[in-house]
């Protein structure tokens, strides 16, 4: 019988909603207010994300340090689908300006407002003049041919256009560009740790986590470090970084991302090189690698020769098999094979297969052979939860970055292999 995953998701069509992307771009930008031009209940998605993120960061003992901005909804109902929601949006904008006295109001459009054809940009322009404060609108409507990142990038461009100002440079300073879990997330935390170890100062994380007056001074940074990952998803961030370089002389450092050991090293050397800190960079790399070797010394007696299986079903935009294969090699695990799950379109499958073949000689299987392999494996490293009682380690969506990220993954595999519990179970890193 073919191995089943917990959920089936077809990545071919619209996968996400641009409204939450807009929200993320301003979520903690003090002084801003966000309006969802949507049915009331759409706001619950952002709230659910916020609650999950709040407790997830608490779970990592990294509590939030900023407060989220107010989020309102125009609360579209059936009558607005007939008469239009423009007046409702205008009324909500007036209310937001009166109640919160914000520095700006951002508007995120739902698919409903797109289907009924509200001219949100016109309403925004009119109210901007009336209220005398920036009303930021984007040409994205829920999932209608747009994704989360479209909303995120569109709002980011608006913020730069409205708030960034040319500034005299402050030496040794960096602007973090992107989200990846926010300032208290593991990605930004690790990047901050490594940059500070080089003696650099971070002026803030943009967008989403800078107030309007901070945005106005953000261009004092010498360089922008992109919090990027795999695939084309981060192309938008690269474009934004180029815009900052072109218009505000903030050098874009985005050739590499610290998403595996090799790239982390290249990334550190490139950042250190830009700031004339090559020697500090080399010393830092040596210290981090020594630390990693010490950890491996503890892990290897447990992990060496253990049989593992790798199950892949995630798009290459979100995942690079080479990173996990590097981890398998570091821990001297015995890779039984790689299973390609039934989540790929034929073209995607060919691409993933080529990537896997380039990185390992291990046999590649489809799901029909997978159950037998699962039965032999001590641990399955997987992008999808499997409906099979074998210990599984869920490979994270947001890439584990830098040396700390790699260590977290290595430690997670080590701990799972230390376990003597019988049966299945899924570990999230």
């Amino acid at each position: 019988m073919a191995l089943q995953t917990k959920r089936y998701i077809n990545w071919r069509n619209s996968c996400s909603c641009s409204m939450t992307g807009v929200w993320e771009a301003v979520a903690f930008a003090e002084g801003a207010v966000l309006i969802f031009h949507s049915p009331r209940a759409c706001a619950h998605v952002a709230r659910t994300m916020e609650i999950y993120s709040h407790y997830r960061t608490l779970g990592d003992l990294r509590p939030e340090t900023l407060r989220p901005i107010p989020v309102l909804s125009t609360q579209l109902t059936e009558k607005h689908t007939i008469f239009g929601g423009g007046e409702q949006l205008a009324a909500c904008l007036r209310y937001a300006a009166e109640k919160y006295k914000p520095r700006c109001i951002a508007v995120a459009n739902s698919c409903v407002s797109g289907v009924i054809g509200d001219d949100v940009e016109a309403v925004g322009a009119e109210l901007e003049e009336e209220l005398g404060l920036p009303v930021l609108t984007v040409n994205c409507y829920g999932f209608l041919n747009t994704e989360y990142y479209d909303g995120y990038y569109a709002m980011t461009e608006q913020l730069i256009r409205r708030f960034f100002q040319k500034q005299p440079k402050e030496m040794g300073t960096v602007l973090l560009l992107g989200d990846c879990g926010g300032p208290w997330g593991l990605y930004a935390g690790e990047v901050r740790r490594l940059l500070q170890a080089l003696g650099l100062k971070i002026v803030g994380q943009f967008p989403g986590y800078m107030a309007a007056d901070e945005m106005a001074r953000a261009a004092r940074a010498e360089a922008a470090v992109i919090l990027g990952g795999r695939g084309d998803l981060y192309e938008g961030l690269r474009k934004i970084a180029q815009q900052l370089e072109r218009d505000y002389a903030v050098k874009a450092l985005g050739a590499f991302y610290p998403v595996d050991l090799q790239q982390t090293k290249q990334w550190l050397l490139s950042v250190a090189g830009f700031f004339d800190k090559e020697e500090e960079g080399r010393r830092l790399i040596a210290a981090e690698e020594e630390n990693l070797q010490r950890a491996l010394g503890r892990f290897l007696p447990v992990t060496e020769g253990q049989k593992v299986l790798l199950c892949l079903g995630r798009q290459l935009d979100y995942f690079d098999p080479a990173t996990t294969l590097e981890l398998i090699e570091l821990l001297h695990l015995d890779l039984l094979g790689v299973v390609l799950l039934d989540a790929y379109e034929p073209a995607e499958r060919r691409e993933v297969l080529a990537k896997v073949r380039a990185a390992t000689d291990a046999p590649v299987h489809d799901t029909t052979a997978a159950e037998g392999l699962c039965a032999q494996a001590r641990l399955v490293l997987t992008t999808h939860e499997l409906q099979y009682p074998v210990p599984q380690l869920f490979l994270p969506m947001i890439p584990e970055v830098g040396y700390s990220g790699t260590l977290r993954l290595l430690r997670a595999v080590y701990r799972r292999l230390c376990s003597r519990k019988e049966g299945g179970g899924l570990t999230y890193v």
Partner: protein, 446 residues
């Protein structure tokens, strides 16, 4: 139509959309499969909600995943493909429930016709139920009426299993926090009193729904979910109904049973009364013992925030049976037709999250606060720096607690469970405050 709430309050509302509520109703039918005809994002968040109560929900809930083009040319192609996939996964469906999201509902696809033209070999229900019609309760309630209107027609009444008075429970769902345990306790109580539970609208088989009209009385449990179904069944079959709220606390449970008994007499009410008396006596003794160490179970301010009927009925039991309070405020997530709480100092309107939390947090310095709500509200308490509040979750979403054993909040067993949780929350809070006092003492006298 969904109630209008102040614009500014929306960001603090945990209520999901009607799509989730309707799916929760359908998911309560054994063997039913659900297809969400709408964006992946909406489907995924509805699925994630339902998975809190049924981990393998994805096996019987899938998505047509239309793209932007489908909104122009129609969703038929992706709908049919998804239905075929759904039919292939697992066994045949007892009922197929197809729900359109808000944007899909606007384009006017003939979903009923598309689904009906396929050879599905199972009954099906289709409906438009995105966020335009409201939140979880509106979706659940409309899905119940729609399904009953389709299933309950012309079905012959089954043989009565006994001569016991027979009733239906309307508006119970396993997809509320701890819903399954509460349902089981409620049925246990009714059976203890001598009733036969004919059908639980919200947790039953399709067959039981077909014979729903064979009961003597409908009892509405969560009013926001079940009242419309009761009205529908009353209009269509003349079935009488009552809406007595929910049984929390020992005395509250007996009072609830007495209301049902008044509408439809039961043979063994005294059995339930005897168990209530025994439970209350046991809890009083334990309360005395705990008080001797920790002092009285006292909270300066308490807020109960939950789905409408739960909020009212828990608040009533909290003040009248479980704890002593300085001030009590209630924040229901939906407006109700009836009031089930007459002892609150302040009753917020549905959706006044911001005001309710501000009230709770104002002048909170040195006060002992109690929140009976969800992680949605406790997150705000943390953000306000009120780390020493006593918190018990009684509603979704819950990210800071786990309940793995099926102990209810409702009924007699639930009364013991809730008092246990309240005492433990109070003791943990006292220990945290005591730890800080000890630290200060050491600092000052070092």
């Amino acid at each position: 139509m969904s109630e209008k709430v102040p614009w500014s309050e929306v960001c603090r509302r945990p209520d999901t959309c009607a799509l989730t509520g309707a799916a929760a109703f359908a998911a309560g039918i054994v063997g039913a499969k659900i297809l969400v005809n709408g964006p992946l994002w909406c489907y995924f968040y509805a699925l994630r909600y339902l998975e809190r109560s049924e981990y393998h929900m994805a096996q019987r809930m899938q998505n047509s995943q239309p793209d932007g083009t489908s909104i122009v040319y129609g969703t038929e192609k992706c709908l049919v493909a998804a239905l075929e996939r759904l039919q292939k996964s697992g066994g045949p469906a007892e009922l197929l429930f197809v729900e359109n999201s808000c944007s899909v509902s606007l384009i006017g696809d003939d979903t009923e016709g598309i689904v009906g033209s396929l050879d599905l070999n199972c009954p099906f229900v289709t409906m438009d139920c995105g966020g335009l019609i409201g939140g979880f309760a509106e979706g659940w309630s409309r899905a119940a009426v729609r399904t009953l209107s389709k299933l309950s027609s012309a079905a012959p009444a089954p043989e009565r299993k006994s001569c016991r008075p027979r009733l239906n429970l309307l508006g119970l769902t396993d997809f509320y926090f701890n819903g399954r345990a509460d349902r089981e306790e409620l049925v246990r109580l009714l059976e203890l009193a001598g009733y036969e539970v004919n059908c639980i609208c919200g947790a039953s088989t399709a067959e039981e729904l077909r014979s729903i009209a064979s009961a003597d009385l409908n009892v509405v449990c969560h009013e926001e979910l079940g009242l419309e179904a009761a009205r529908y069944l009353n209009k269509r079959y003349g079935l009488p109904y009552i809406s007595p709220g929910l049984p929390y606390g020992c005395r509250g449970s007996v009072a609830w049973l007495e209301k049902v008994h008044y509408a439809l007499p039961c043979p063994h009410l005294e059995r339930a009364r005897a168990e209530a008396e025994e439970t209350e006596g046991r809890l009083t003794v334990w309360g005395n013992e705990l008080s001797s160490v920790w002092g009285e179970l006292w909270f300066d301010k308490a807020l109960v925030a939950a789905p409408g009927t739960t909020a009212h009925c828990v608040a009533q039991a909290l003040r009248c049976e479980w704890a002593d309070l300085g001030e009590l405020a209630v924040l229901p997530r939906q407006a109700l037709q009836n009031s089930y709480c007459d002892c609150a100092d302040k009753s917020h309107s549905a959706g006044e999250e911001e005001a309710a939390l501000q009230d709770l947090c104002s002048s909170a310095e040195g006060q002992c606060l109690l929140l009976l709500g969800s992680s949605n509200e406790s997150m705000e308490l943390r953000r306000a720096g009120l780390f020493d509040s006593a918190v018990c979750n009684i509603a979704h979403p819950v990210s800071d607690e786990v309940l793995l054993i099926g102990e209810p909040f409702m009924g007699l067993r639930g009364s013991a469970h809730m008092q246990q949780r309240l005492w433990n929350a109070y003791i943990r809070r006292t220990l945290a405050c005591g730890g800080r006092a000890e630290e200060n003492f050491r600092k000052n006298f070092r």
